[in-house]
């Protein structure tokens, strides 16, 4: 078994990044003009990387499947972005952000990467404000912060409930400036279908123009993959419909190791599923847990009545409600990390206490917050004898200011007014901590091939804290990759343009074309979605919030069977030489059908419970923590990096052992 070289620099953790940056090779400005970089994906990571690399002088080619870079799914992030600014004076620091992120990730992330992330977090806020991102402010004109799950300070910057949108528009505006200057060549409605290696180095990609169907060759001195996570392997997730793993999976098949696929985040606060036609799930920002209290009926009879529509939540008296998070975790209450909150909801619903027709929902109640804020406002405005109605009105005003757009979104989907009746929520697949293995430079195991943002694995371990995805995407794109990539490219200043007429490009284009032709000519009988939904069911039922060896073995066999049937029976109508949405989906689902199996294999290998990965075989059996997840540091303090060997079940495991020199490993406790 080979040892993966993470290339983490020596020295004290606080100095690693600074010292390293001071010593790595640079490319001089005149030479940058002769170097091309491909960036695939234009979310926060890809967009910020493309803009920054172009500002530095490289020639950037950027690709996205949407009709505009501004539509990448980073745009849907609601709650906020963390940064250790300590503007609130509550004792925050780089170290605390680092510590919280490592602890929140249940000690399965790479220490040095996380510390670097914390170090640049403050720069991100400075940069975004300079770009004109309209963060929320207080009456003194300074930036406002709020708190998020799993931490004890307020370090989250936000722009209403649209933080991801505003940060992405910031990166997009920086891209636009470079597109106008000709430093970024932007390819909208293009999908990367494979990577091209020349002499072992990543030197280009093959894309399909989604409007004309044309297969195109693009060359560069380095390729950056920033295509997000693989949550849609579950079919239903909070990801966008088009979010896919094709770029990440294709580079895996060409030599990039895939790390920790089983580390997937099931987000606790999503709008529950309403029927089999459901196409996606909508997230309600975790920030709602700051003010909302989560509960189910304490009595099973009340729960049954609610499920049948015979009882309303507002009719259940306070003493008959089970605020189970506050009961089980008095220290953190409703603000426990996402994985803990999700499993607790599942536990109650599995016991029959769910609160909608499907039995898969819990309440998120704002009545207490409305009353608390209402009383506060009444005092501020001098209403000493305010009536109950007045207090409610004032309180609802505060809630509207904080979460108005989320409440509106909920009401549009569910047709219930969350100011008057509690919201219903249930966990849904949201974020994938696993992804392509990268070293400290964010380079994959293929030279010249980089992977940033959610698509890589490095910073969140087994569980990501709220408001850290935006931070990592922008850190990678604005402040890490633009430095580390120079170290690699400094060897390429004499290489010259990479030709696209080489046998290597010929061969990969042929593979891509053959696969498209297969889909178009296959005389199957079932739609792409048919297979995707079946895969999703297996993933959710057997590789979901709670996993065991029996189910995982079954899942691997079932996914393989679905995959074999897919290749025989899939039907793709239309023409390959024009816009063809079914063809796009077919390619993506084919890759999910392989990734899903590796996912289950990884979950099977990791016989411990950590973060979002919960093995029923590994729980605390007695004492105060009984039933809680049990991590096993002796056997599993490593990153699983899988090497492709044909069938997903044949993938070979390489281990990067994780060392924690600056943090003591503890079992997480939020009690």
């Amino acid at each position: 078994m080979s040892v993966l070289d993470s290339k983490v620099p020596k020295g004290p953790i606080k100095d690693k990044w600074t010292t390293y940056k001071d010593k790595i090779n640079l490319v001089n400005p005149a030479n940058k003009r002769n170097i091309d970089i491909i960036v695939v994906g234009t979310g926060l990571a890809g967009g910020s990387a493309a803009a920054t690399l172009a500002e530095q002088g490289y020639n950037v080619k950027a690709f996205c499947y949407q009709d505009s870079p501004r539509r990448a799914h980073s745009i849907a992030a609601q709650g906020g972005i963390n940064a250790a600014k300590n503007y609130m004076g509550d004792g925050d620091s780089n170290y605390r952000l680092f510590y919280d992120t490592v602890k929140g990730g249940d000690y399965r992330s790479r220490e040095a990467n996380v510390h670097r992330l914390a170090e640049v977090s403050g720069n991100i806020i400075d940069q975004c404000v300079a770009q004109g991102v309209p963060f929320a402010r207080d009456y003194g004109g300074l930036l406002d912060n709020r708190s998020f799950g799993g931490v004890l300070v307020s370090r989250t910057f936000y722009a209403k409930g649209q933080t991801g949108q505003q940060l992405l528009l910031g990166a997009y505006s920086a891209m636009n400036r470079q597109i106008a200057r000709g430093k970024i060549e932007m390819f909208n409605r293009h999908e990367m279908l494979d990577v091209v290696k020349v002499d072992g180095k990543a030197r280009g990609i093959i894309t399909r123009n989604l409007i004309t169907g044309e297969i195109e060759r693009h060359s560069a001195h380095a390729v950056v993959i920033a295509t997000g996570g693989y949550g849609n392997v579950y079919f239903l997730s909070t990801n966008a419909m088009g979010s896919n793993a094709t770029a990440a999976w294709k580079i895996h098949k060409k030599g990039a190791y895939f790390a920790n696929p089983c580390f997937t985040q099931i987000h606790p606060t999503c709008i529950p599923r309403s029927g089999d036609y459901q196409s996606k799930l909508t997230l309600m920002s975790e920030s709602l847990r700051n003010d909302g209290r989560i509960w189910v009926p304490a009595n099973i009879d009340d729960a049954k009545a609610i499920q049948k529509g015979k009882l309303k939540p507002t009719e259940i008296a306070e003493e008959n409600r089970d605020y189970y998070l506050e009961r089980r975790y008095p220290a953190f209450g409703n603000l426990v990390p996402r994985d803990v909150a999700s499993r607790a909801a599942k536990e109650r619903c599995d016991e029959g206490y769910g609160v909608n027709a499907t039995g898969e929902a819990v309440y998120l109640d704002f009545a207490a917050a409305i009353e608390r804020y209402g009383k506060e406002q009444a005092k501020i405005h001098g209403h000493h004898d305010a009536s109950k109605e007045k207090i409610t009105e004032l309180g609802e005003g505060v809630i509207e200011e904080k979460y108005g757009n989320l409440f509106q979104m909920y009401e549009k989907i569910v047709a219930e007014n969350p100011y008057k009746t509690p919201m219903m929520i249930y966990p849904a697949t949201h974020y994938t901590m696993g992804g392509v293995w990268v070293d400290y430079n964010l380079m994959t195991t293929v030279p010249g091939l980089y992977c940033i943002g959610e698509a890589n694995f490095s910073d969140h371990g087994a569980n990501r804290l709220g408001a850290s995805a935006l931070m990592q995407g922008l850190a990678d794109g604005y402040f890490v990759l633009p430095y580390t990539i120079g170290d690699y490219l400094s060897d390429d200043i004499r290489t010259g343009k990479i030709p696209t007429n080489s046998p290597e490009f010929d061969a990969v284009e042929k593979e891509v074309t053959e696969r498209i032709n297969f889909f178009m000519n296959n005389k199957g009988t079932k739609s792409v979605d048919h297979f995707h939904k079946r895969l999703g069911k297996v993933m959710w039922n057997k590789v979901g919030m709670a996993r065991n060896a029996t189910h995982l073995n079954e899942a691997m066999a079932e996914i393989k069977a679905i995959r074999e049937e897919f290749w025989k029976e899939v039907k793709v109508p239309g023409d390959a030489n024009e816009m063809n949405l079914e063809l796009e989906k077919a390619g993506r689902v084919a890759d999910f059908l392989e990734l899903g199996e590796l996912f289950a294999k990884d979950a099977l290998d990791r016989n411990e419970s950590c973060g979002g990965h919960y093995r029923e075989e590994s729980v605390v059996t007695e004492g105060e923590q009984k039933g809680e997840a049990l991590r096993n540091d002796e056997e599993f303090a490593y990153v699983s990096a899988w090497e492709y060997k044909g069938e997903p079940s044949d993938a070979v495991l390489h281990k990067e052992h994780l060392e924690f020199k600056d943090i003591e490993l503890k079992q997480r406790s939020y009690k």
């Binding site: 770009q131 004109g132 003194g140 300074l142 036609y277 109508p573």
Partner: protein
């Protein structure tokens, strides 16, 4: 519920399109409009026909990709939402629903209900940014206090998702609500002041070049805008434009 759909089908940009009738049955009121379209497409694929092409992605009203003109209204009958947030409870059994693409000369049809919105991209490239490089050495974020009022107003303008409903719904196919929102975001913030004059002139020039119509203050755009972008942004853009022009 059972519905009749009259959907615009057009094979490509240079091919003549037409409305085609389809039937869908057993549609639940809890489905989103696009889930109803999924049902139709599954039906079409299973019968060997080509599914209807339409743009969509996030399906939660924020990416701005979806763009349907439903019964003569951008994003359908409901207010303050995108097509993907529209639910079938807004319709009733036996309804006939007309589904068309955005209609504007500056947004040519690519296929069926999919249109080309590159004109919006080019307008943003003409000036929709603050020229600040990523250095890690910009001043501390709190060294520039901005009044809460200005920050909130800038946020309201920045909430635009760039879907193009304003253009589609305007009888002049004007893009002034879109451009006004972008100009306003920067005009309201101190960071935007340095380049304010050039920005508004360049963006308006590009907007005119793309073939969008002028504004005649009917206010349809504000009503159909899924994010409630206010007409006052157009007024602000006009003021900015006038003062930039007078400065020369």
């Amino acid at each position: 519920m059972n519905l009749t759909l009259k959907i615009w089908r057009q094979k490509g940009p240079d091919v003549k399109g037409k409305l085609v009738d389809y039937k869908v049955n057993d549609i639940s009121e809890h489905m989103s409009f696009l889930e109803m379209m999924d049902v139709l497409n599954e039906q079409l694929v299973n019968s060997g026909d080509e599914p209807v092409a339409f743009d969509h992605d996030c399906r939660e009203g924020i990416c701005g990709m979806c763009s349907l003109y439903i019964n003569g209204e951008a994003h359908g009958p409901d207010r303050a939402i995108t097509t993907c947030q529209l639910h079938m409870r807004s319709f009733k059994d036996g309804d006939t629903i007309y589904i068309e693409p955005w209609r504007a000369a500056a947004f040519p049809v690519i296929k069926d209900l999919v249109v080309d919105r590159m004109a919006f991209e080019r307008i943003q490239q003409a000036g929709g940014f603050v020229s600040v490089n990523t250095s890690g050495n910009t001043q501390d974020a709190n060294s520039l206090p901005i009044s809460k009022h200005a920050a909130d107003e800038a946020m309201d303008a920045a909430a635009c998702i760039g879907c193009g409903a304003c253009v589609a719904t305007c009888k002049n196919s004007s893009a002034m609500l879109f451009v006004g929102a972008k100009v306003s975001q920067y005009a309201l913030l101190p960071q935007g002041q340095v380049e304010a004059a050039d920005r508004v002139k360049n963006m308006v020039a590009q907007m005119d070049l793309e073939g969008f119509g002028n504004c005649t203050n009917t206010g349809a755009c504000e009503i159909e805008c899924p994010k409630g972008i206010s007409l006052s942004n157009i007024a602000r853009m006009n003021r900015e434009y006038l003062s930039a022009s007078l400065k020369g």
